[in-house]
Symmetry: C2
Subunit: 351 residues, 2 copies
């Protein structure tokens, strides 16, 4: 099954755009790093007067607007300090907002900052393939998107496969399940880098931000993993009540893989289009979800509600979310003792 | 009042995308002209491997896909026949679909041709201003959009003004009304050309298609003018029934101006960014609307229903459309004897 996971559209109280403060906190911490990186590392030999920036997996805003503004501010600052490096006095910024073609671009476009110093373009299409012309991109950004795989790996949803993952995600993380997910991650992240490798100009910078696992830490040991397990358990409870067909549920998995640091590095090195200029753990005050069952349930609803609703219907989704809130209260002590995941800041430079 | 007129979204039976055969017929006739023009006139000195195409006022498709494909086919054909002119062996097409930011881009993106040899970008924003970077555009296209003004001209909707236009549009076309509309057209079309003048590379081609008036023909003498008068009259009837507030209606006008040929030419010459390479009347079999009251009413609903509904409510809009269908039957003899309007094909080359 090819998947195209998009966040809840619109800008209502349960929309992604109203519930993305977690990602925003990371962006704010990353701003300084991006600023410094652009100042010292960006090295573009361009005869053109255009400076192209893309955000891959932009969703509906507003975080994407903040991210691109940070980049533009940094580039302008660089050229103010190093005027000899300005490719052209009339440099104009062209910003490409990319996401799946079923992303809510209408909301993105309606909520654009009223005053902005760049031309806007929405780019529909999967970032696992080419979405921009060759040699056109100077700075790219991708935040909280690379844990989404292009599909649930083969075998994972098949009861007869050794890689069948009955328990949605973490608890049943057998060797076969782990390998199937890792293989899919290698294919997908490799495709992402291959496509970006063609789109970037030499010397361009690609910033990747998101959530991964420190080497040696299992997903099921982290708060997010426990919450995933909790969601799986709640889905099974809803199935027992009859609101979800058990066989359907047995075939259900999320196309998500939180890679380990070493796995990220290996794919980047195998791909060969980019050089790793930074791979850092960054911290911010919202790094771990707050231990508030209501907040946790709403966050999960915004992120996963759409997929659950389209698969199992609205009632089953609502019931699951209600159970998640209840169960979260029960497992608060475990959540409080979870191992830390890792927020990553990766800077790649196109060779 | 700033206006942003967008066609009915989605792809249901009353959507623009299902009711755009009239415009499509013009596109098909224009295809040959565009093909020949690109073969003989396009003269771009580009060091880049990108070929940028934009459709201004793209709406939700599918005509815009046909229009850009025609252009790409023509450019590829040109380079096949004249290989020495290929700017770069790896030329890639980048297509920019422009319309107001409240256009239904979601439908546009979901209905993109599954197989296409170009990168896609949606560009939200009024084409009366800059929407693309400077010196970036090679071929532009604008079909059935330039009769929309940026706003109803000042005075037109003001009962105390000599330019007040009580009768919506045509019948009450006093000298003052005509001047106010023409002045607004000059400002808007001038702004359009000014913005495109900055966006185009030298030698690039801009194709304008649409509906205008032959010099000497009044709007009220054409079928479209009579239908507009009919709509105005129906709106007044609905106001008499109490579904529309008469004072609101007295302030209501469409920001539409069907310019005369001479008026188009004058603005292009005054602007000075482009040279007129062709200004032709073109004919096609769907040039005049068919004399079918149901078809006419549906066409008007698709094009104007949204504006009427947002101004006067859904009931008033539906009632008006029902009356239009009835009145159309009554005025069929007049419609049959209307003077011809004109479908124009304009080719401009950036100086």
């Amino acid at each position: 099954m090819a998947s195209s996971n998009t966040m809840a559209g619109g800008d209502g109280p349960n929309s992604y755009s109203q519930h993305s403060t977690y990602q925003r906190a990371l962006l704010e911490v990353a701003k300084e790093k991006i600023n410094e990186a652009i100042s010292t590392e960006l090295d573009i030999n361009s005869a053109s007067n255009r400076f192209n920036i893309a955000d891959f997996g932009c969703s509906t805003g507003p975080n994407t607007f903040l991210a691109v503004q940070n980049i533009i501010d940094a580039v302008e600052e660089k050229y103010r300090k190093q005027p000899q490096q300005i490719p052209d006095d009339n440099t104009e910024f062209h910003v490409f907002f990319n996401d799946h073609s079923n992303n809510d671009f209408n909301t993105l476009f309606k909520t654009l900052p009223p005053i902005k110093k760049y031309s806007v373009a929405g780019v529909p299409g999967s970032f696992f393939g080419r979405v921009l012309p060759r040699d056109s991109l100077h700075v790219g950004h991708c935040s909280y998107s690379l844990h989404w795989l292009s599909q649930v790996p083969k075998g994972i949803a098949d009861r007869s496969s050794p890689a069948w993952n009955k328990d949605i995600y973490c608890t049943g993380f057998s060797k076969e399940v782990a390998e199937a997910y890792l293989d899919q991650f290698k294919i997908d992240f490799g495709s992402f880098l291959e496509a970006r490798g063609e789109e970037f100009v030499s010397g361009g910078l690609l910033f990747l931000l998101g959530s991964c696992l420190p080497d040696g830490v299992k997903m099921s040991e982290t708060m997010k993993g426990m919450l995933f397990d909790c969601m799986g358990s709640c889905l099974h409870d809803v199935a027992k009540e009859g609101l979800i067909d058990q066989e359907e549920l047995d075939k259900f998995n999320f196309p998500i893989y939180p890679a380990h640091v070493e796995e990220f590095k290996r794919v980047i090195e195998d791909n060969g289009c980019f050089t790793i200029k930074a791979f850092e753990r960054i911290s911010h005050e919202n790094e771990e979800y707050p231990l508030d069952p209501k907040f946790l349930a709403t966050s999960y609803k915004v992120t996963f509600g759409g997929v659950l609703e389209s698969r199992f219907g609205k009632d089953a989704m609502e019931k699951t979310m209600q159970l998640i809130e209840e169960k979260c209260s029960e497992i608060l002590p475990q959540l409080a003792n979870a191992k830390s995941g890792m927020q990553y800041f990766i800077m790649l430079q196109k060779n």
